[in-house]
Symmetry: C2
Amino acid sequence: MKFMEDRILKDGQVRPGNILKVDSFLNHQLDITLLNEVGKAFYERFKDKGVTKILTVEASGIAIACMTANYFGTPVVFAKKSKSRNLDGDLYTSVVHSFTYGIDNTVTLSKKFLGADDKVLIVDDFLANGKAVNGLLDICRQAGAEVVGIGIAIEKGFQRGGDDLRERGYDLLSLAVVDEMSDTGIVFRKEA
Amino acid sequence: MKFMEDRILKDGQVRPGNILKVDSFLNHQLDITLLNEVGKAFYERFKDKGVTKILTVEASGIAIACMTANYFGTPVVFAKKSKSRNLDGDLYTSVVHSFTYGIDNTVTLSKKFLGADDKVLIVDDFLANGKAVNGLLDICRQAGAEVVGIGIAIEKGFQRGGDDLRERGYDLLSLAVVDEMSDTGIVFRKEA
């Protein structure tokens, strides 16, 4: 969508290693006005899907999930990347590779917060190889929950995650799809 | 405040090791209605302080920070617990001991997101020994930023963090202060 593309062009920075730095508004400093626009866009697209839970993974996904849940009026559940002393009982677990941090994380979710009655909207700030989203999809599969949509702020279209999800039939809304990026500029995919 | 005390009594669980489990509404599953009440309470208390930034530390603090920022209309900045490939440039750093995870974390914040012109409201879900808040205060000191208030959802009053901050003159609002907890019940501090 235009508001996200405009903001990336205004404040995003392309760095070596296919890194798109958006830390001034999306994942270190958080522009709450922009996050409201993100939440509203996800709500407009998925409001008729009967969403019961917004699912994401810590940490920066929590911001988008909260601002989205504020429109839906549903709870957020976020998967955790490390096992806390506070987490006990039965857990769903899935292994996720973090592109940003260069390591594998086991993400966990308490079974009591996701079940077969849930209709889930998965949200996250970035989609690149799709490892985080696929970890969340794996957790939903374990829970027997229905995934009714996936909302992403920025998709790296030159990596395979988004197109793979589309080919598998998921209803994916990426607010901006970056098909090319370099020192000389950013090319966004035209909306279908 | 009564709404937070009531929710703790309804859904909180006391566990061995001074753990108060509130993962059904505050730090794993997030009750967005409750988080709005938290944000509104912080806004009512600190709205005349000229707040320019809401500061917290990942992960669960992000939820409270976003819902608070939504009332203030200011950006959130959250300190990170691990060094990301995306973090570069000059960083503020401080060492924080996590009671929940039982480890020391170095928290970092990009210098460009906090400076001497900022009036900061620090927020977090829990205050126990005060290590996380003191790490954020240390970062604010390094930045030359003024801390105009501290908002906490749940304070463990039987640990020293909150009273220490009060004695040092900080304007601290804890929505619930747990002075005693055991299998037989929870005792809240009466509001001053």
